[in-house]
Amino acid sequence: MNEPGDLSFSVRTPLGTLALDVSLQVAAEAPLVVVGPNGAGKSSLLLTLLGALPVREGWIQIGADELLNTQSGVDCPIELRRIGYVPQDYALFPHLTVRQNLEFAVRGSAVPATRFERREQVEAILHDLQLSSLAERRATALSGGEKQRVALGRALASRPRVLLLDEPLAALDAQARYEVRLFLAEYLETLRLPTLIVTHDPNDAQVLGKRVAVIEAGSCSRTLTWAELCQAPTSRFVSEFVGRER
């Protein structure tokens, strides 16, 4: 259960008028950026991996560990999948402080720890993400960039095996976006976790991810590098997407 491993999945499920059909593999050293037009199913894909949306047909695996297999009836509940999730707008618990948000995650992580050890873990994360001065602030009293770091720290505090980020920079202003993007890229490098990042920003695609997956009308079956995408745009959306490169 604790081994690191690549994330691989193949899910097919109806989403309203759309039919989600995505089969991909995400390696630990290569964060995957997921792009696509609005309503194409990007955020929903994250939710299916998380276990928050039902999957009609398919399977999800982390390393050798099966999280979902509709054929054999395996369906691990959200609480046990150990997947870290940072939604758009971060979803920090508004009634708790930064420290309490992190503590909640540490409590929920499957690793048994004494109160002292838990405190140490929280301190470590606060330090790593430069949040120590904000520890006692209410989650609602933070700037966009600070919230993002707290949300990230919280997701990591539960010792996940996979990280899912939904539009991590969308709620930031242009200046913050630039700075946080660089920070995030570096940080993800040190983490070495299979990571999926949903974004609509071509800059994110270039900087944050090693590979790119394009979901259009719910389907996607391969990943490309940014360079490959630019060389041979596969659709109108893609050519516009890469054309906006600075």
Binding site: Y85, F104, S109
Partner: protein, 272 residues
């Protein structure tokens, strides 16, 4: 003034008139109740032998009813809010139904369920027992009629919680208890408090079901509303004084808990 300005004035006036009509209709009878008694009559009415035992009984039975409704109703509302299937919709309709049932009907239903001729009669006592005409019956009747008010408010409060917060909490490995006690309950707090006020007020004012199921005995089952009704048979002045008392108690509780609700709201929003 322009033509449009005038038209807007007329529309506001029309809305205001409709509003004022209902407001007046609600306030005037209460005004007549309060102003129709002199202070002397009021204090004499308070010293009426029916007053003190009825007030005490009403307060503690309603409080107990509230505790029962909140303790059992909060998990119920939470579980119903989590699931959206047809079964939970059916359950939701059933538990909110008592709002539409006339209190007398509720009283009769309780009598048939828990009375001498009910299905549980042999559980209460080998020769056939009954919960009717006891102080417990007062609490049960109050729970029955007031729970729907709390449940509706609690359901709405839980449903208002951003679903993503719950998803994130679960993805962090939260157990059902952690999810309920640390996330859902604090966030739904203000709504739950509001529902509790309504529940308590309804329990305090309950009359029809208690009269039928619990009876009317001073000190044991004669709640304040029943005392008022009984007093009316012989002494309208006393009934008036007791009514003002009940109104005052309800108002005091109402404002007191509204204050607490505002504080609870502020703390959730991080202003405290």
């Amino acid at each position: 003034m322009t033509r449009i300005g005038l038209a807007h004035r007329v529309q506001t006036l029309a809305l205001g008139t409709l509003a004022a009509l209902l407001l007046a209709f609600l306030v005037i009878p209460m005004g007549c109740l309060m102003l129709g008694t002199s202070w002397g009559e009021f204090s004499a009415g308070l010293r009426h032998p029916l007053a003190s035992p009825a007030l005490k009984l009403s307060l503690w039975t309603s409080a107990l009813a509230l505790v029962i409704v909140v303790t059992l109703g909060t998990p119920l509302a939470w579980l119903l809010a989590l699931r959206r299937g047809r079964v939970s919709q059916l359950v939701e309709t059933l538990v909110v139904l008592p709002v539409a049932i006339p209190p007398a009907v509720a009283g009769l239903a309780l009598l048939l369920a828990f009375g001498k001729k009910g299905p549980f009669s042999n559980w209460f006592s080998p020769e056939g027992g009954s919960l009717a005409l006891t102080t417990s019956a007062v609490v049960l009747a109050e729970v029955f009629v007031s729970s729907a008010f709390f449940l509706q408010a609690a359901l709405a409060a839980f449903r208002r919680i951003d679903a993503r917060l719950l998803i994130v909490a679960r993805s962090l490995g939260a157990s059902p208890f952690q999810l309920f006690f640390r996330i859902a309950l604090p966030l739904a707090g203000p709504g739950l408090v509001g529902g509790a006020i309504l529940c308590f007020a309804r329990a305090l004012g309950e009359f029809g079901a208690t009269l039928m199921f619990a009876g009317n005995l001073q000190g044991k089952t004669q709640t304040l509303p029943l005392a008022i009704y009984t007093a009316m048979e012989s002494d309208l002045r006393a009934a008036q004084a007791l009514s003002i008392l009940l109104l005052a108690v309800a108002l005091a509780l109402f404002f007191g808990v509204r204050f607490a609700e505002r504080r609870s709201h502020a703390s959730v929003e991080g202003r405290l």
